[in-house]
Every structure is written in structure tokens, then in C-alpha cells.
Point group: C2
């Protein structure tokens, strides 16, 4: 089975797309476009006319904006199975941020018009979309909460936990982007703070770090440490249906 | 004209509710319930079964959660015309946070079932709701960005600007909640940091502070100072249709 078909099948299982009409699913499959992009390749720029939305098959993508005094604000760094660009349909068809690959990546794109039509013509899909946006809203609430209440090692631990399969028993391996300054920036930290905090996290939870590979031997040690300063429960409820 | 009628008329003008069916608007008016609540009165607790959503007519309400180690996380403090509790319909009908009045307030409540029915039966309303949630999503993106990029005086300035009528010409008066520690907490600051930052903001922008009343003589001095570290433009685009 080719990669494109695999991805489409996975998408069809997702909470959001499950509510799509058969015609919508057929069109998604027909119009999906899988591309390999290199590190540093820009997919779109903030305020540009939006005509596609994207799902990551492999690799990492950063979403960012630039402030008037020229600083880059990292909104998120996304990995496998995450969707982005879809909210442009509520932003007068302009992308609300820029997107750039931070590793060599495989990205699948779809025409935004498909999504738009389905929302307008299929009430069940439009409600599933609302529910998906409510989940994202809750995630952002938690993110804002964590910026205030979690210390730096807890915040890194939380980031790792959210990348891990939280139902998995036994050791887990996580691959971070090579550029750690991006991870630091995503977590609202200076690079030096990030390095110090990662060392503390290692000592406190027994994770091991080799370059950009993290080994978690005991998930509950990591969650016990990181989730103490969180108002939500572990495993993270909002993640269950989040990715496609 | 009584207060309740006034509020309902204002709601009917709002971007979201304008898409409601005539029957929906009639029911909103019939089932609206205006209550005066005292400072410290709790409207609902996180995870409680949700059966109402609320709009603030006067006063201030804080939305918060508690973490496992017992700290209170302030999600937001809301004033006049803001709606809250409505996203519970996407959270298995449980409130995703707690709500408490931090000043004597007048609050209008509506049955959540009205909103739910309208979303399920009126596609235009469901799309308006999506668009309203996309705007909130963008606000939260900005909030996360500001935590990282704005310094403390800029963050206070931004908070004040978002409370002001940004189209207004001439001096503006803003009333903050009496309890400044709540404002500090909402902005992710310690109370001492907040006091120091407010002094710096006064010196930099010429605003005057008397107790919990802020006078802004020149909106553009304040926006010039605060919005330099923001990726969005002044006046804030997302605010135009935000409140009811």
C-alpha cells in the first residue's frame, strides 16, 4: 500500500474526518498531495492567501509569526499526524502564521476548499470541527497555565509527555528536532535555561538524553514530576482525539 | 426599557447571535435570567455538570482551575459583555474551569440546551460559532506569544488596551478590579513585579493610576509602547467581533 493511501486511511479514522461524507473522503483521497520538503523550506507566510491545509506525515514543522520589532514568535512546533493551516478558512482565507520545515519532512496537503464545502454542507462535520476547536482551546488554556505555574524542568517534561504514546507500557524513545533552540523557544525559555532545566529533569526523573533522542524508562516518574503543577489529569485527556 | 431587554438586544447584534434563527432569539429572551451576585460568589466549579452559559452585564468574573499541588491558575478575568461557559457543550457537558465573581456583578444566564439545539439545527449558526472559536484561538496564540516576547510593562499596557474602546478619540477611563493581585496573576506576574511594571508603564506612556482607575490620555502612546512586541496590528483585529 502506498504512503498516500496509508495516510488517507489514517485520516479517515480520525474523530474529525470520521464525520465527513463519503464524497468528501473520496475527494480528499483524490486531491491529496504528498511532498518531501527540506529543512528550512517555507510552506507559507503569515497573511498570505490560504488555499491549502496540511498534515505532517514525518518530520517537524514550526509555526511562527514576526513581531513589529522583528522578533520571531514560535507558536508551535509540530510533528507526525498534526494538522495545520485549516483555521485560515475563518481568517478571511489568509494564513494566521507562517510555517517552515525544521527537519526534512513529508507533508500532505489538501485544498482548503474541500474543508470549506464540507463544513458548509454537512452539519455533522461542522459540529465535529467545533468539537475539535474546543479541544484545541483547552490545550491553549493549559499552555497559558503552564507558562505561569510549571517550572522549567516540569515544562520540558510536559512537552515530552505530550509527544509520547501515553498508553504505552515500557520504555519510550522520543526524537526531538536537532535544533534545541527551537524547542526552548516553543517552551518560552532561553537556550541556557533549557539546557539547565533538561539536566535537572534528567536527575529528577531518570530520563536519558543522547543528542536529540530522549529515552523514557518510566513514564510515571516523568508524569509524577511534571503533572504536579497542572490542573489536568495524566494521561492528557485532550490528546486522545487531537491528532489525525 | 428594562435591563434584560437591553442586554438581549445587544446580544442579537453580535456576530455570533446574528446568525441565530428567530425562534432561537425568542427563546433566549424568554429564558434569560439576570442575577446580581456578590464578590466571592461562585457560579460553577470545574468538572461540574454544565447546564448554563453566561454573559457579564456589569462587574468582573474570574475563570480558574486548581492544579494537583493546590495552586490556583487564573485562566482569565472577564468584564462587561464577555460570554463564558459556552464551550462546555464540547466538553461532555462539564465546565472546563471554575467561575467566581471578583466584584459585585450582574450576570445573565441562558440554558446551554438552547445553544446546543441551535448549533445542531442551524448550519449558519454552527459556522458562526466556528468562526467565533477561531478568533478565540488566535487570541490565545497571541497571549502565549506575549508571555514570551512582551516585557512586564508591555503586557500590562496590552491588557489595558484590550479593555479600552480602541476606536475612541480622546481620554479613556478604565476600571480594573480592586484586587490587583488577580490582574497580576492573570498576566502571569508576581504582585511585586506587577507594581514595578505599572510604575514603568506610567513613566513610559503618561497614563495615570488612581487606585483601580486608569486614565489613558493618549491611546497611541500606549499602543506604540505595548504593541512593539506583538505580531498583530493595533487596533486589535480579533476584538472587533469578540464581545457580545
Amino acid at each position: 500500500m502506498d504512503i498516500k493511501k496509508q495516510i488517507i486511511d489514517r485520516i479517515a479514522e480520525n474523530h474529525l474526518f470520521r464525520s465527513g461524507s463519503p464524497a468528501f473522503k473520496e475527494k480528499l483521497e483524490k486531491e491529496a498531495n504528498l511532498t518531501r520538503i527540506h529543512k528550512g523550506q517555507v510552506l507559507f507566510i503569515a497573511q498570505e492567501d490560504a488555499d491549502k491545509f496540511y498534515i505532517i506525515h514525518t518530520g517537524w514543522v514550526k509555526l511562527f509569526r514576526e513581531t513589529f520589532d522583528g522578533t520571531q514568535a514560535i507558536i508551535d512546533i509540530l510533528s507526525q499526524n498534526h494538522m495545520f493551516g485549516e483555521t485560515s478558512i475563518f481568517e478571511d482565507d489568509a494564513y494566521p502564521f507562517s510555517a517552515e520545515a525544521i527537519e526534512p519532512s513529508e507533508i500532505i496537503s489538501f485544498p482548503l476548499s474541500l474543508l470549506k464545502n464540507e463544513i458548509e454542507n454537512n452539519p455533522a462535520f461542522s459540529i465535529a470541527m467545533l468539537s475539535s476547536m474546543a479541544r484545541y482551546r483547552k490545550q491553549q488554556d493549559l499552555e497559558i497555565e503552564h507558562r505561569t505555574l510549571q517550572n522549567a524542568p516540569q515544562r520540558i517534561g510536559c512537552f515530552l509527555l505530550r509527544l509520547a504514546n501515553q498508553e504505552h507500557k515500557g520504555p519510550i524513545t522520543i526524537h526531538l528536532p536537532y535544533d534545541k533552540t527551537l524547542v526552548a523557544s516553543r517552551l518560552g525559555m532561553q537556550p541556557e535555561t533549557f539546557s539547565r532545566a533538561l539536566s535537572k529533569l534528567k536527575d529528577a526523573t531518570g530520563i536519558s538524553v543522547k543528542g536529540s533522542t530522549i529515552e523514557i524508562n518510566n513514564l510515571s516518574d516523568l508524569s509524577g514530576f511534571s503533572c504536579a503543577a497542572c490542573s489536568s489529569e495524566f494521561p492528557c485527556q485532550d490528546l486522545k482525539k487531537e491528532t489525525v
